[in-house]
């Protein structure tokens, strides 16, 4: 008797689980199919493609040939005069790092300062100011990038007009492959960097303009997130600190900054990943500044970040698709490693607090 009841209960439970089981799976099925087909499968498919030579000639299986090329001549190669020079992949990697380092820390610092000023110093008009800073984030696109190419035009751009008004030498901006640091030192007529190879002397002038555009376009997002974090800090914490005689600077250092650390971690990770993957800003700004071919990444490949490198090999020249897939894989592992490292570093310090 007892066992039959127990068996019946067990059966009904099994049945319940099974029926609701199918119900649940049906709900997620559309999303699941798309994610498997266009997110998971591509990882393996990309690996497969990267094992083929796929260019103008017949497609051929070459095993790890693309990876040999990537880590071989892609990293170190010889130029026309048989000197040992940086390969195209390593060069692209260095350009990417310049781009990320040029973009992320200023975005974080600027957005923190602006958000703090908006929060502390402004009562009226905060919404309007926030709106102004947020607008580029939603409109950033190739259409908006076009006005930047006009503003930074070497011949007729308004930036050069301002520089001239200030008595500073006009610049070639997006058409200048020379490192910005060398240019600045030239203004002040101090030497020191001339002997350095260009790739080692920091981002080119063109890349600096791309960085400025990217900061402009992504600043609003970080401001809005910081502003929300500031609003979430309980106001009695400020009051208590004020009572203890803390001035603005101490308040910032001892209360605001530590409490916003998780948000800073989040913003650093999001901005870094976005910067590593950025394509649109570079494509939109550098497409027409190349040597007539209309290829993105110029001048002289000094704005050729890894996503643009992949695009060039895959689409613009479509001469080495398998090779582009191999480079995409390298980028994937760099991003994965970077995310883990960032979590480690920031995770630990924020738990210590």
């Amino acid at each position: 008797m007892e066992t039959t009841i127990r068996a019946a209960i067990a059966r009904s439970r099994r049945e319940a689980r099974r029926t609701s089981g199918w119900g649940g799976v049906i709900y997620i099925l559309p999303a699941l199919i798309i994610l498997i087909l266009f997110e998971f499968w591509p990882i393996f498919f990309n690996l497969w493609i990267s094992l083929w030579r796929w260019d103008v000639g017949p497609v051929a299986f070459i095993g790890f040939g693309n990876y040999q090329r990537l880590f071989g001549e892609g990293f170190v190669t010889r130029d026309y005069a048989d000197r040992i020079v940086v390969g195209e992949v390593l060069e692209s990697l260095i350009v990417t790092v310049y781009y990320v380092l040029g973009r992320v820390p200023p975005t974080i610092a600027l957005s923190f300062v602006l958000a703090y000023m908006l929060f502390q110093g402004v009562r009226r008009g905060r919404a309007a100011l926030r709106l102004a800073y947020f607008l580029p984030y939603i409109t950033s696109s190739i259409a908006v990038a076009m006005v930047f190419t006009w503003i930074f035009n070497p011949r007729i751009g308004v930036v050069n007009a301002v520089l001239e008004g200030l008595g500073l030498p006009p610049q070639k901006w997006l058409q200048d492959p020379i490192p910005a640091a060398k240019r600045v030192l030239q203004w002040f007529q101090v030497g020191g960097l001339e002997s350095w190879p260009d790739i080692a002397a920091g981002p080119s002038m063109a890349l600096v303009v791309v960085i400025v555009y990217s900061i402009w376009a992504s600043l609003g997002y970080s401001i809005v997130i910081y502003l929300a974090g500031l609003t979430n800090i309980p106001s009695d914490l400020y009051e208590a600190a004020r009572m203890d005689g803390a001035d603005g600077w101490a308040l910032l250092r001892l209360i605001v900054w530590p409490l916003l650390k998780p948000i800073t971690l989040f913003l650093v990770i999001v901005n870094t990943i976005n910067a590593f993957q950025a394509f649109d800003p570079i494509f939109a700004l550098t497409r027409n500044s190349g040597m007539g071919r209309g290829e993105a990444g110029g001048p002289l490949d000094t704005t050729l970040t890894m996503p643009v490198f992949i695009f060039r090999n895959f689409y613009e020249r479509s001469n080495s698709v398998g090779y582009a897939a191999a480079v995409a894989f390298l980028l994937f592992f760099i991003l994965l490693g970077l995310t883990i490292v960032q979590f480690r570093i920031f995770g630990r310090t924020s738990y210590d607090q």
Binding site: I28, P30, L35, L135, M146, W150, A161, I225, A325
Partner: protein
């Protein structure tokens, strides 16, 4: 203890300084838009003058007509394409993500936790890795566009609206956001709805969606803006001008009107305006959506 006069003065001064810096910064940030608007009325001679004029000497609204009628298709056609892509893509995405988010939040089924982790893991996969394989998948899609079962022979889904829209329809982050929103709805509602004879789909449709409207709206607006501004994927999977979106079309403008900045700026304004209008209509909603997405994520 009231603050001393010196302290008070210092704070006032600090506030004035903040205002000045913030307004100067905001003007700098807005400047490209102002330059775009003023520039869109300048003729080719004036827009190429150095030093540049700020206010147009003579106004040329015909720039807009020229931008609108520019080859190879009219801008109206591209705007229509973008609208079709953004509206259908966003609608389907919201639908698909709502169903998935709801199942992960409310329904019990085998493998739920594992599947959810799987969905979240896709946010770690960069676009560059999926770009080439997805292109091949679209091109070799079996049994469509003249392809045989093995994806050979034709062009698959290449050069169709479906190719532009399909890969982005799921969006793991949106599933996550919607799941979080659904989980905030008290469980008592579900019990009450069951007593009234409401099934799990009826509950989602009649109770859950009205209660989580702000999140749904956030997902929708994010999706719309992302698709409107999307460039790389539509550029790669299309060839016909008749279905390319505006952002891709802008690359022709760039080549076509090389130095005619007036017309270029007019085109930019026409392309950007829909997004700005949409944003102004729902900005409060949207910013709070960005915040909750960011802080929970």
């Amino acid at each position: 203890m009231s603050p001393s006069l010196a302290q008070y003065n210092r704070r006032q001064f600090g506030s004035a300084l903040s205002y000045a810096l913030l307004i100067a910064g905001a003007l700098l940030v807005i400047f490209p838009f102002i330059w775009m608007l003023l520039g869109s009325f300048k003729n080719i001679e004036e827009s190429n003058r150095f030093p540049p004029t700020i206010w147009p000497e003579s106004w040329h609204p015909e720039n807009y007509a020229q931008a609108w009628n520019a080859p190879p298709s009219t801008l109206g056609r591209y705007l229509l394409n973008s609208t079709v892509i953004a509206v259908t893509g966003t609608t389907l995405q919201v639908l698909i993500c709502t169903l998935a988010g709801y199942a992960f939040a409310m329904l019990r089924f085998r493998g739920r936790e594992v599947l959810f982790l799987l969905v979240l893991a896709t946010t770690m996969i960069p676009n560059e890795v999926t770009l080439i394989p997805n292109f091949v998948t679209i091109r070799r899609f079996p049994l469509l566009g003249g392809n045989d079962l093995f994806g050979a022979g034709g062009s698959g889904l290449y050069d169709t609206y479906i190719a532009i829209v399909l890969p982005g329809l799921a969006g793991a982050f949106n599933v996550f956001l919607l799941r979080q929103a659904f989980m905030t709805v008290p469980h008592e509602y579900w019990e009450a709805a069951q007593i009234d004879g409401c099934g799990s789909f009826g509950y989602l449709w009649r109770v859950m969606t009205p209660l989580t409207l702000p999140t749904l709206l956030t997902v929708a607006v994010f999706g719309f803006i992302g698709r409107w501004n999307g460039l790389l994927w539509p550029l790669i999977v299309t060839r016909s001008e008749s279905l390319r979106p505006v952002q891709v079309a802008m690359t022709y403008y760039q080549t076509e009107f090389l130095t005619d900045y007036g017309t270029l700026m007019a085109a930019s304004i026409l392309v950007t305006l829909p997004i700005i209008v949409l944003f102004l209509l729902i900005q409060r909603q949207f910013i709070s959506g960005v915040v909750s997405a960011g802080l929970k994520g």
